[in-house]
C-alpha cells in the first residue's frame, strides 16, 4: 500500500506528515526534484533574500523527523512519467524519475507546484535576469543583488513588490514595472493598490503602471536596461521577473486528469480520477467564498490545508476543505494580511487610516462579508478571519464604526 507523493515542498511534506497522523502505516515515498531538503518558500522573497535567514533555518523538518515517521524522501529526482496499472487495485501504478528510478505505488498524490512564468521578450535570457521561485533562484538573486546598483522589477504582484522592498532597503535604485493599471490587481481593491504604490514611492522605489516590457537590453551578454513598450529605456544591471506562475500539470495530463488552469480537484482534494489526490499551487479548487467558481490559491496556508484534506481522503477519512484562504506579504515595515477571497465584491468598508499606514479594508458581496486586507493591523485581520471561519455575519455599517473591535 505504498503512497507516492510527487513534489516535496510544503504540500507534499504536510501530506506525508498528515497521512502518518491518520494512522497510515504503509510506506510513504516523497519525491522532490530539488536537491535540497524540503524548505519553506515564503521567506525566499523576504528574510532569505535580505540575508536575515539562511537555508538551514528554512528547512521544514529535520532529517530525523522523516526517519522517525518512516517517510522516505527522494531528493534531486523529478518524476517524468506516471501511469496507472490497467488492472489490479484502482489507483495503483508506476512512476519513473529522471534519475532512472521506477516507483510502484498503490496511492498517488500530486503536490507538484508551479513554475514561474517566463518573460517572453528579446533579451530575456541575458545574465542578470532573475526569477524567484525556489531556493536556487533566491540564492542567485541574492548574489546579484549584492553587486547590483539599478534594479528593475518586472511585475507588481507580491513577489515583485517583496523583492523590490528588499532591494530598496539594501540601498539600490529600484523601479517596478507593472503592465496593469495598478499593483496586485487580482488580490486587493484599487484603493489598496494605490496605497502600495504610494508606500513604495515614499520609500524611494519607482513604480510605473500600465507599462509593458518590449525587450531586455544587454551588453556583452549582461543586462544593461529594460526597454518599455512606450520606448522608454530604464537602465538596469539586475532585472527581477515576477509575472506569475504556471501550474505543473504535465503529470496530470499524462494521467488524463481534468486540468483547467491547474489540476481540477473537489473539496476533498480528489482529482477527476477520485483515487488520485492533488494539493497546493498545482490545483484549482471550488471555494464557497469564490462565488461558486474554482480558484487557484497560491499560498502556503492553502498548501497546508489542502494537503491535510488530501491525506484524510487517502486515509479513508474524508473531510471537506473548509479553510478560509489567508495570506500575508511583508514589504519594508508593512505587513499586509489577507483573509477570504476579494473577488466579485460590490462594497468595501475602510477602517483606520491609510495615511498612517495602518488600516483595513473589508469586502462585501450583497451585504455578506467576503474578505479583508489589513495593513499593519493584525487584530482586524484575525477578527475577520475568525468571523469568516465561523460564518459570523459582520454588517458593513457595524464594521465601519471605529469603535467596533
Amino acid at each position: 500500500m505504498t503512497a507516492l507523493i510527487v513534489g516535496a515542498s510544503q504540500a507534499g511534506v504536510q501530506l506525508a506528515t498528515s497521512l502518518r497522523d491518520h494512522g497510515y502505516t504503509a510506506p510513504i515515498v516523497l519525491v522532490g526534484a530539488e536537491a535540497h531538503a524540503p524548505y519553506q518558500r515564503p521567506p525566499l522573497s523576504k528574510q532569505f533574500l535580505s540575508g536575515a535567514a539562511d537555508l538551514a533555518s528554512l528547512e521544514l523538518r529535520t532529517a530525523g523527523f522523516y526517519a522517525e515517521r518512516g517517510i522516505d524522501v527522494i531528493r534531486g529526482e523529478r518524476v517524468t512519467h506516471v501511469a496507472l496499472s490497467g488492472s489490479g487495485r484502482r489507483g495503483a501504478g508506476i512512476a519513473l524519475t529522471d534519475g532512472g528510478r521506477a516507483i510502484s505505488f498503490d496511492r498517488l498524490a500530486l503536490t507538484v507546484g508551479a513554475r514561474p512564468r517566463r518573460l517572453d521578450v528579446p533579451g530575456a535570457d541575458l545574465e542578470g535576469v532573475c526569477y524567484l521561485r525556489d531556493i536556487d533562484d533566491a540564492a542567485r538573486l541574492r548574489a546579484h543583488l549584492t553587486r547590483a546598483q539599478e534594479v528593475v522589477v518586472v511585475g507588481g504582484g507580491f513577489i515583485g513588490l517583496e523583492a523590490a522592498a528588499v532591494a530598496r532597503a539594501a540601498g539600490r535604485t529600484v523601479t517596478v514595472v507593472e503592465a496593469a493599471g495598478r499593483l496586485i490587481p487580482r488580490s486587493v481593491a484599487p484603493m489598496v493598490s494605490e496605497f502600495f504604490r504610494q508606500a513604495h514611492t515614499r520609500r524611494g522605489t519607482g513604480v510605473r503602471l500600465g507599462s509593458g516590457v518590449a525587450a531586455i537590453q544587454g551588453w556583452q551578454g549582461r543586462v544593461s536596461g529594460v526597454r518599455l513598450l512606450d520606448g522608454t529605456l530604464l537602465t538596469a544591471d539586475l532585472v527581477v521577473v515576477g509575472v506569475g506562475v504556471v501550474p505543473r500539470t504535465e503529470l496530470a495530463e499524462q494521467l488524463g486528469l481534468a486540468c483547467d488552469g491547474g489540476i481540477v480537484v473537489d473539496e476533498y482534494a480528489r482529482t477527476s480520477e477520485p483515487s488520485i489526490v492533488a494539493a497546493g499551487d498545482c490545483t484549482v479548487l471550488p471555494h464557497p467564498l469564490a462565488g461558486g467558481g474554482r480558484v487557484r490559491l497560491e499560498s502556503m496556508p492553502n498548501a497546508i490545508a489542502q494537503a491535510r484534506v488530501a491525506a484524510a481522503t487517502l486515509a479513508g477519512d474524508p473531510r471537506p476543505y473548509t479553510e478560509v484562504p489567508w495570506f500575508w506579504s511583508d514589504q519594508y515595515d508593512l505587513k499586509l494580511q489577507i483573509a477570504g477571497v476579494a473577488h466579485g465584491y460590490d462594497q468595501i468598508v475602510v477602517r483606520g487610516d491609510p495615511g498612517a499606514e495602518r488600516f483595513s479594508v473589508l469586502y462585501y458581496r450583497r451585504g455578506q462579508l467576503q474578505a479583508i486586507t489589513a495593513v499593519n493591523w493584525p487584530a482586524d485581520y484575525l477578527a475577520v478571519r475568525r468571523a469568516l471561519a465561523g460564518g459570523t455575519p459582520l454588517a458593513p455599517d457595524r464594521a465601519a464604526a471605529s469603535d467596533t473591535p
Partner: protein
C-alpha cells in the same frame, strides 16, 4: 546547542537540541513536537505556535511586542501572563534549558 524542553498537557517532556538563532517554533515544528503548528512559518500571522513560557524563564524571555500582543489578545483562547508566540522567541545560549508549556489548543 541550547536545549529546549517542551512540556505537553499530560506533563510529558520532550527535550530538543536547538540551534542559537532559530526560533522555538521552528525547533518544535522541524522535530514534529505535537501542539505547535506554526502555520505561517513565523510571520506573526496565525498564532498557532502559542506557548506558556515556564515561570523560571519568563523574565529572561521577556514580553511580546505590540503586534504580537494584539495577536495573543485576539487569537489565543486562554491567554496568560506568560503567553508568547514561540515563533518570536529566538534561542540563545543564555536560554539553554528553556522550558515552555504547550496549550490545550491552537487557533
Amino acid at each position: 546547542m541550547p536545549k529546549v524542553i517542551f512540556v505537553a498537557l499530560d506533563g510529558s517532556r520532550r527535550t530538543i537540541d536547538g540551534a542559537a538563532g532559530d526560533s522555538v517554533m521552528a525547533t518544535a515544528v522541524r522535530n514534529g513536537v505535537p501542539g505547535i503548528v506554526g502555520e505561517c512559518g513565523g510571520n506573526r500571522s496565525c498564532a498557532t505556535c502559542h506557548v506558556y513560557v515556564d515561570d523560571g524563564f519568563a523574565a529572561r524571555v521577556g514580553p511580546p511586542d505590540d503586534l504580537e500582543d494584539d495577536m495573543l489578545d485576539l487569537a489565543v483562547s486562554d491567554r496568560r501572563d506568560t503567553s508568547r508566540l514561540s515563533c518570536q522567541i529566538k534561542l540563545t545560549d543564555d536560554l539553554d534549558g528553556l522550558t515552555v508549556h504547550i496549550p490545550d489548543e491552537q487557533p
